[in-house]
Amino acid sequence: MVEGRAKMPVVTVKIKRLKKLISDIRVDTALEMLPFIGLDIEGVDKETIRVEYNPNRPDLSSDIGIARALRGLLEIETGLPKFKLAGKSGIAIRVQGSVCKVRPYIVAFAANDGTLQDETLKQLISMQEDLHNGIGRKRRKASIGIHNLDVITSPITYKTVTGDYSFRPLNESSDFSIDCILSDLEIGKQYGHILADFDRYPLLIDNAGKVLSFPPVINGQATRVTDNCSNLFVEVTAIDEDTAEDLLAILAITLYDAGFDINSVNIESGKKTSKTPRMTQKVISADVSYLNNILGLSLGAKQMEHCLEKSRLDASIRNRKNIACTIPRYRIDINHPIDIAEELAIGYGIYNLEPSFPASYSVGEKNSLSVHFNAIRESLIGLGMIESLNFLLTSKEVQYDTFDAPPPKHPLFVETSKSIEHELLRDSLIPVLLKSLSYNIHEQYPQKLFEIGKTFLKSNRMIEERWSVGAVIANTESGYTEIKSAMQALLRSCFGREAITTPSTNHMFMKGRSAQVMFEGKSVGIIGEITPLALEKFKLRMPVAAFEINLLPTIKDK
């Protein structure tokens, strides 16, 4: 349950505007309540609050959406947020069949008589980018175009064109062909790969020949939006219909809340005509007892309704056992009664949940591997060794180049690691232990380190994960004798049996000073004096002796 490392999207909320959106809310109230709708406060200054939100709530990608949710929790405005389509815009989009293979779906609406000034345009742009990166899956799944409605003439055609088609892209001073856009413009290079499999490209063009956009790459300069615009045309193209509709709905309600009139657009595809945006709300029913049970509460029907309304749902109890919830169109994350439970908890207030302490009927215990490893750890500590912890991912340089040895037949590299020092799963502990020694050349000797950890080996097309114990002793007169005594002491004290060493060769050890560790007739590890070739490469000045033993065979035999 560790937070996703992908950067969470951020919304910058201007405090002055927040006060307008939520009748004069006090800043400290806002700061206190924002986390309770799932927002992390990134930073606060005199004029703004920056918050991080989870991309499963795309409706929170603008200050308008945040204010809508906060108004509910603060009980300023509860229940389903108001939304009504003003009427028909009279605009139609004619969809040509050729888009089916490339980017089949398009939905749109017109937003009239509103204002983009006072921060709304900024919020819209930031929202659009977040939606592109999140649900839009970096525009591949869906992308949004927002245009100046005043310069557009219906009907609009959604079709495909060849690469030599030219138009003036947004913010450019001349026309570019589509091929040029894809090869020369930054944005073309960034998103062009989405269209790599095709030789015809989607284009949205109005009746007068103005290019609205070349989805998903770039809009046309002709329909550019400035903050003076009061009439907008909003379209979403996609490879998934539901995603397109969801995005459109979120944009519709955001612009509605920003003061625009939302008017529908006709989508004509073949013989079918549909009207978008489709804002039908779903209704989900849940058992009252189920909801109470999950949260550990015993709320009455009225109370439950009230809490759900604070989460901006409409709720009505049916026959005392069942509650029917109407879900706002923009809540694409609520699909199952369990999601209702979370809304109920938020509406109730997480801060109001009292902890409860059920008795445990189970007795806890350590896993047997843990117990064995602890015994081994204690024996080695008793021999004066200090435990080190190294990463499981290492580099080809540390594992093999330092010994002038070739990597094994099937080295376990990971794809495109961001750190070259972590590109390979280790097959042995000894090299990483030598690396640890190399950080300590100015520390007092003798230095005795050990590690109990996993090593990886590919055999028979399967990857084997092994538990190993490795130890190194570095000292002016370190040698085989000392390390062998230690290894035997370890196995004797842990397992009560003697280990034998038989001559062998290993690229890590000096010739003639290398052996296999035999335990109960099986080869379980290696032992020897480290070759000076490696000592030099690790910049060590002391001789080092080492052993490494695979633990599971030894543990199993006991």
């Binding site: 349950m1 560790v2 937070e3 996703g4 490392r5 986390p35 309770f36 989870n54 499963n56 709530r57 799944k141 998934d240 539901d242 049970n293 999950i294 550990g296 509460l297 199952h336 369990i338 999601d339 979370e342 938020i346 997480i350 949940l353 009292e354 902890p355 302490f357 445990s360 009927y361 189970s362 007795v363 806890g364 350590k366 896993n367 843990s370 750890r377 500590i381 200090i386 435990e387 912890l389 190294n390 990463f391 499981l392 991912l393 099937h410 376990l412 990971v414 794809e415 495109t416 690691s417 961001k418 640890s436 950080y439 300590n440 520390e443 007092q444 990886f456 399967m462 990857i463 994960e465």
Partner: protein, 496 residues
């Protein structure tokens, strides 16, 4: 009256060394006795206390030639150079200056010096050197004499007069103040010296097995040891500090009735993502966030056909796209410990139980002072009929209390496989702010139903390294894995 027996070997050596001398400096004492300066200082303190030596501090002044004076000795004092110039045929100051033999600022000193030494006489407006000019002046003699440096007290009266004169010249001499400590025996020391010499007992340092078994120890006098002397520093073996924290947390879990489980690091995408309600096109599954193993595009999924079918059905219902089994077959380095937990629950199918694990997880990150590519995750799950969110909060409070954390708050958050989901924040006194601790939630029905897990599962977890950094007051998370002995040897085992 102190007897010889009571003397420490250091004291004895010092007394002997001073026995035929008036006094010695600390350095000379060390040289004579072969003891270190520290040992001499200790011995002196003890003997002073016993009133056997007296310590006097002297201050000496030494004269040394300074750079200006050295130059003058080499090139000649201004008055010498004046006279040499005159001998070459120059007849007045103007000509001497023009010849470059002396500088403008040296004229006065040159003339004064030359006159004082009777080296020149003025005849008809011309300067003529006398026969005295061939002699060395007292200043010249003095400068040469003091080149090796000389104590002021050793100067003759004549020397002192010349010194006065030389000191007027710029940067010719340097006077250094040196302090010296001289040690001498007191009267009472001199009186007991004879007894020191008549040492009858043989002194021994080592008590040997032979002395013990032969009984000769009864006749042997054993020397005292310098019990205050420092000894070589040695270091005990120990657990890695991160392992110590892991052990502590394991004990806390066990005390709350949790049993430890473990599982493979390499998991199929099916268990790491699909079974955990994460759609196949979720950004976290991309190369830049997750480690995929090269040349291992597919591995059979270790799940039953039935499990795979049910999970894929959930995906198709929820996200209107096909579910690709090949995507599920891609092995990854697990990005969290939850695939291990959920497989365990699916296997044992218990009605009630508590399990935990603390083990490594991997994210394709660039390492920095606060991010690692592999780190330890703590995860706990509790399964019970009717397990509720309030119980989850209760479990958290109990757990944190055992870690000594009491100022906790909970906020809603999001994870793909839990609903409701919360995160806990703990107040850190040292940093004076709230810090994110663990994420938690109830497993979604979409996760538990396909796997036949009937009862509700409470789950929580978080990264371990952050806790370690707070405990050990580290600023760079990578320090935990550098294994620098200075740190490993130094971290106290008892954290109060």
């Amino acid at each position: 009256m102190t007897t010889a027996e009571a003397f420490h070997p250091i004291e004895r050596s010092i007394l002997y060394a001073l026995s035929n001398k008036d006094n010695l400096s600390i350095d000379s004492l060390a040289a004579n006795t072969g003891l270190s300066i520290d040992q001499i200082r200790r011995g002196i303190e003890w003997l002073k206390f016993k009133n056997l030596i007296s310590v006097e501090q002297f201050s000496r002044q030494r004269i040394l030639v300074a750079p200006g004076g050295l130059k003058a000795t080499k090139n000649g004092l201004p008055e010498r150079r004046l006279v040499n110039s005159l001998k070459k045929g120059k007849v007045n100051i103007a000509e001497v200056l023009a010849a470059g033999d002396i500088k403008n600022e040296e004229i006065n000193a040159a003339i004064a010096g030359a006159r004082r030494n009777h080296w020149i006489e003025l005849i008809e407006g011309k300067m003529i050197p006398t026969h005295f000019a061939d002699n060395q002046s007292p200043e010249e003699g003095f400068l040469t004499k003091i080149i090796p440096g000389i104590e002021i007290s050793k100067l003759t009266q004549e020397d002192r007069n010349v010194l006065e004169e030389i000191r007027k010249r710029p940067n010719y001499v340097l006077i250094k103040e040196e302090k010296e400590t001289l040690i001498s025996l007191t009267e009472s020391a001199r009186q007991i010296l004879p007894t020191l010499n008549r040492e009858e007992y043989e002194e021994r340092r080592l008590l040997t097995p032979e002395l013990i078994t032969s009984g000769k120890w009864k006749e042997t006098r054993f020397s005292s040891l310098d019990v205050e002397a420092p000894t070589p520093v040695i270091f005990p073996g120990r657990r890695h500090p991160l392992m110590e924290i892991i052990e502590e947390i394991k004990e806390i879990f066990i005390g709350l009735g949790f049993s430890e489980i473990e599982g493979p690091i390499i998991q199929s995408s099916f268990w790491n993502f699909d079974a955990l309600f994460t759609p196949q096109d979720h950004p976290a599954r991309e190369l830049q966030d997750t480690f995929y193993i090269s040349n291992q595009t597919q591995q059979p999924i270790s799940a039953s056909k039935d499990q795979i079918t049910r999970v894929s059905r959930i995906h198709k219902q929820r996200w209107n796209r096909g579910w690709d089994v090949r995507e599920g077959q891609r092995p990854v380095l697990r990005t969290h410990t939850t695939p291990v937990t959920v497989q365990h629950l699916a296997k044992v199918k218990s009605d009630a139980g508590r399990f935990f694990l603390i083990d490594k997880v991997f994210r394709n990150e660039k390492l920095s002072y606060k991010h690692l590519a592999e780190f330890y995750q703590i995860e706990g799950v509790a399964i019970a009929p009717d397990a509720s969110l309030r119980e989850l909060i209760g479990l958290q409070k109990e757990f944190y209390a055992k870690m000594g954390l009491t100022r906790i708050k909970f906020w809603p958050t999001f994870f793909p496989y839990t609903e409701p989901s919360l995160q806990s924040m703990v107040y850190n006194e040292r940093l004076e702010r709230w810090i994110e601790l663990f994420g938690m939630g109830i497993f979604r029905p979409e996760v538990t139903e396909p796997l036949g897990i009937k009862n509700r599962v409470l789950a929580w977890g978080g990264g371990l390294e952050r806790i370690a950094m707070l405990r050990f007051e580290l600023d760079d998370v990578r320090e935990l894995y550098r294994n620098k002995l200075a740190w490993l040897r130094g971290v106290p085992k008892c954290q109060l």
